[in-house]
């Protein structure tokens, strides 16, 4: 089903992708501003079934520091050189664009290309994840996927490899070379590949979540979370934040629950697990949304400051991940070397 998206729906889409960011993925503000040109709208969002499975497809995303993106704005067509390089390498033009990361600011990234390509409602993660080797195409080891990336000062790098870990390391090196944040494009796959190897309907879900959130934001937490199809994990004041003794990227935030419970959010670049009284209540790939209890702002992990009163809800993980143990292995907390955080249920 082709869906026509109106300009007025942009804030709801932003809100939805923020929820799916699980506390990471970057704020959508910058992209909302970039898309605030009414002449770009309305936009068409294609369902997978409406497109010929043989059509080549590409995915685009910003990688690196999301904070840096807010400081150093990308150019007006940051992906054009990357797409040109990919098309030249492949020898074909690619008419379809999908999303690489279905949470945070990258949920909106394909919208910047919707004027020139058909935007399909599919992404490679269904939530925010930190690593390029965690993209569903790489988790499933779909052959022939290439990546292009900025290397700074107009330079473009193109990488073809069968080892996802190499992709992650080399693109990461290029990102650093490019100044800490830049664009990347994946290509070399078709619409048909997405049917089995991608998370579908993420944009529609984001729109639904965002719309529901905006209308229910002032309702009691239990009603809000029920409306979002989620579950309340806990509520309380942040009393401590400690970083992992060996991995400074990992932090544990302690929340004194309103009922005396001891809650804990373990996060890296996004929230990975939630504990209550020593028991894991939720862990990645489940989406853990942290809201400011008073303003109901959707908080990023960097905003978990001591003294803040927060409400935490979980949203179900995309089913794609749980269909095989091999897929789960790439996204659970243990993928980052964090033990004892698997949700037993």
């Amino acid at each position: 089903m082709v869906r026509t998206l109106q300009y007025e729906q942009l804030p709801m889409l932003g809100r939805g992708f923020s929820l799916l960011g699980s506390g990471g993925g970057g704020t959508t503000t910058m992209l909302e501003l970039a898309l605030a040109d009414a002449s770009l709208w309305p936009m068409q969002l294609y369902g997978l079934e409406e497109l010929d499975p043989a059509l080549p497809c590409l995915g685009a995303a910003f990688v690196g520091s999301t904070l840096l993106l807010n400081e150093r704005l990308p150019g007006d067509a940051p992906f054009d050189p990357l797409i040109a390089a990919a098309e030249r390498w492949l020898g074909i033009s690619v008419p379809v664009v999908c999303s690489l990361e279905g949470g945070g600011l990258n949920g909106l990234t394909p919208f910047t290309l919707a004027g020139t390509r058909m935007m399909v409602d599919a992404d490679l993660t269904g939530r925010a994840v930190p690593g390029l080797d965690q993209m569903s195409l790489h988790v499933d080891r779909v052959p022939g996927v290439i990546a292009t990336c900025d290397t700074g000062a107009g330079g473009v790098m193109l990488l073809q490899t069968d080892r996802p870990a190499d992709l992650e390391r080399i693109v990461r090196a290029a990102v650093i070379q490019a100044g800490g944040a830049c664009g990347t494009v994946f290509a070399g796959f078709t619409v048909g590949d997405l049917a089995e190897h991608a998370i579908l309907g993420g944009t529609a879900r984001a729109l639904e979540l965002g719309t529901t959130f905006d209308t229910m934001a002032s309702e009691p937490l239990s009603q809000l979370s029920a409306a979002l199809g989620g579950r309340v994990l806990g509520e309380g004041r942040i009393t401590a934040a400690t970083s992992h003794p060996r991995d400074p990227h990992v932090s544990s935030v302690e929340i004194a629950g309103v009922g005396g419970e001891v809650h804990r959010i373990v996060s890296r670049s996004e929230s990975l697990a939630f504990m209550t009284d020593g028991r894991v209540e939720a862990s990645a790939p489940t989406i853990i949304v942290t809201l400011d209890s008073i303003s109901r702002d959707i908080l990023e992990v960097t905003a978990f400051t001591i003294g803040r009163h927060v409400s935490v809800i979980e949203l179900p993980a995309p089913h794609w991940w749980s269909r095989s143990a091999e897929r789960m292995r790439h996204v659970v907390p243990a993928a980052y070397g964090l033990d004892e955080l698997e949700f037993p249920g």
Binding site: A240, P245, S252, E254, A256, G260, V262, M275, G278, L338
Partner: protein, 505 residues
């Protein structure tokens, strides 16, 4: 086992491997002890035991949370392991919330041994204490307090020597008054327990010289097995304590008689000290240089000078002044020594302190106290002690001043009187005035009054309600009977003193 293991008993155990309560309830009781290296090896289901883990805890807060949770879920109510004191506030809040006592222990195996002793091997516990008592006796002790220190530090519990009135000595801790009143002095061994956790095991001390003494091992929250074991330890330690009391007493009596002899020698030399005596004084810690304030505490009735000396020495020890005392005759002679001269105000303060000592001593002994003048140097020491001796003799008859007289406040009359009361003077005075006995003593009365009134006939007549001619006649008669010339001032003084001495008798 009928009795459970208690947290307080374990904390009071001297060899508990460095156990510290970190979080959770202050009072806890366990019926089971499980020792493993890791949490995963613990039994799946217990009801109310303590888990002792020898491995270090995990480092991340969520793993620490999870550990607490899992130990509690297995049914344990206490967790002891090394390094657990590094847990964060949230971990400890969780432990408290779940009702799990969190204990830090440096040496888990030692803690396990302590648990085993308290739960199952009470004889081993007793034997351990007894062996430690034996070790304490092995070391040289300079006195009873030293012996008690040895016992306390070896056994690992505080010890006190008590009688029915209070605590005489204590080492390793403070014996609370409430604890003291809970001790039963009648039985041979007594195990006492008070609200608030105080516990004590005491044994009667079988001492020939001092009755009613007990030694007590005490501590907070000791369990019954511990108390019983400490009771045995006290029984074993008791003979050593009794012997030590006796030895200390013999030493003290000996010391007192030596110092008493030394003071006598010193006073006999009247301040001119020979080198040999000086050395003996120094050996005794007596310095004759400096400023001295002598005092004498005299028994008004027969008393045990040694006991008095002991009591006085104890009281003097509470003054912030260098003091010496020894027994002489029917009392105690002593002095305060100062390196610098004291202002009148300071001096008053010192006399006041001595008066307080006197008042305390009077509660136990019927004594009178004299204080000498403030004097300097070796001769001054002799002078202040003799002044104190005179003052004490006067004080013995002075209930009005609380049996306390200060030399400076004597007045010349009192001084003269004290001087004339010497054994040789009084008989001499009596024989001098013996001729005046004719006529019923009226001549002696008239002579006394005449001398008191500056040899004035008219004043004497008024005082005695006689006619002045009568007075003149009687004085004439006295001169004839005694064969003296009353116009001679020396004669008048001698007669005056003799009258005082005879009349005051």
């Amino acid at each position: 086992m009928s009795e459970n293991l208690r947290l307080r008993a374990l904390l009071a155990h001297p060899a508990n491997g460095g156990l510290r309560a970190v979080a959770g309830p202050a009072e806890a009781e366990w019926n089971e002890v499980v020792i493993e290296s890791n949490e995963s090896e613990l039994p799946a289901e217990v009801s109310g035991g303590i888990a002792i883990l020898s491995a270090s805890p995990p480092t991340t807060p969520w793993q620490q949370d999870a550990l607490i949770r899992r130990v509690r879920d297995r049914g344990f109510v206490a967790l002891a392991m090394p390094g657990i004191d590094n847990f964060g506030a949230g971990n400890l809040a969780l432990a408290t919330r779940l009702g799990l006592s969190v204990l830090h222990v440096d040496k888990p195996l030692m803690l396990a041994k302590a648990c085993w002793q308290l739960l199952e091997a009470r004889d081993a516990l007793t034997l351990g204490y007894v062996r430690k008592v034996a070790q304490s006796i092995e070391y040289h002790a300079t006195g009873l307090p030293d012996l008690l220190h040895h016992l306390s530090s070896n056994v690992g519990h505080a010890i006190a020597l008590i009688d029915e009135k209070g605590v005489l000595l204590e080492a390793g801790g403070h014996f609370e008054p409430a604890m003291h009143s809970a001790v039963n002095f009648a039985p041979w061994v007594d195990l006492a327990r008070i609200d608030g956790g105080g516990t004590a095991a005491s044994v009667r001390v079988d001492s020939p010289s001092r009755a009613g003494l007990r030694i007590a091992f005490f501590g907070n929250g000791l369990s019954d097995p511990q108390l019983r074991a400490l009771g045995v330890a006290a029984e074993v330690a008791m003979p050593a304590v009794a012997a030590r009391i006796l030895i200390d007493e013999v030493v003290a009596v000996n010391e007192a008689s030596v110092s008493s002899g030394l003071l006598r020698d010193f006073l006999e030399q009247r301040g001119g000290i020979e080198a040999e005596l000086e050395q003996r004084l120094l050996d005794h810690g007596w310095r004759t240089a400096g400023f001295h304030l002598g005092f004498r505490i005299l028994g008004r009735t027969r008393l045990d000078s040694f006991q008095l000396l002991r009591f006085v020495t104890q009281q003097l020890g509470q003054l912030a002044v260098d003091s010496h005392a020894t027994m002489t005759g029917r009392g105690v002679t002593g002095w305060l020594t100062f390196t610098e001269s004291q202002s009148p105000r300071q001096l008053e303060q010192h006399v006041f302190s001595l008066r307080k000592v006197h008042n305390t001593v009077r509660k136990a002994f019927n004594v009178a106290t004299g204080v000498g003048a403030f004097e300097n140097g070796s001769a001054g020491l002799v002078a202040t002690i003799s002044g104190a001796t005179d003052a004490a003799r006067i004080a013995a008859n002075r209930s009005g001043t609380g049996w306390f007289v200060r030399f400076d406040a004597l007045g010349l009359e009192q001084l003269l009187l004290s001087w004339t009361e010497h054994d040789t003077f009084v008989p001499a005075a009596e024989s001098l005035l013996a001729p005046l006995a004719v006529g019923g003593g009226e001549l002696l009365a008239t002579l006394s009054a005449y001398l008191d009134h500056e040899s004035g006939t008219a004043a004497t007549a008024t005082a005695l309600r006689l006619h002045r001619n009568t007075v003149a006649t009687r004085i004439q008669r006295v001169q004839e009977l005694l064969g003296v010339d009353m116009s001679d001032p020396e004669t008048r003084l001698a007669l005056h003193l003799a009258c005082r001495a005879v009349r005051s008798k």
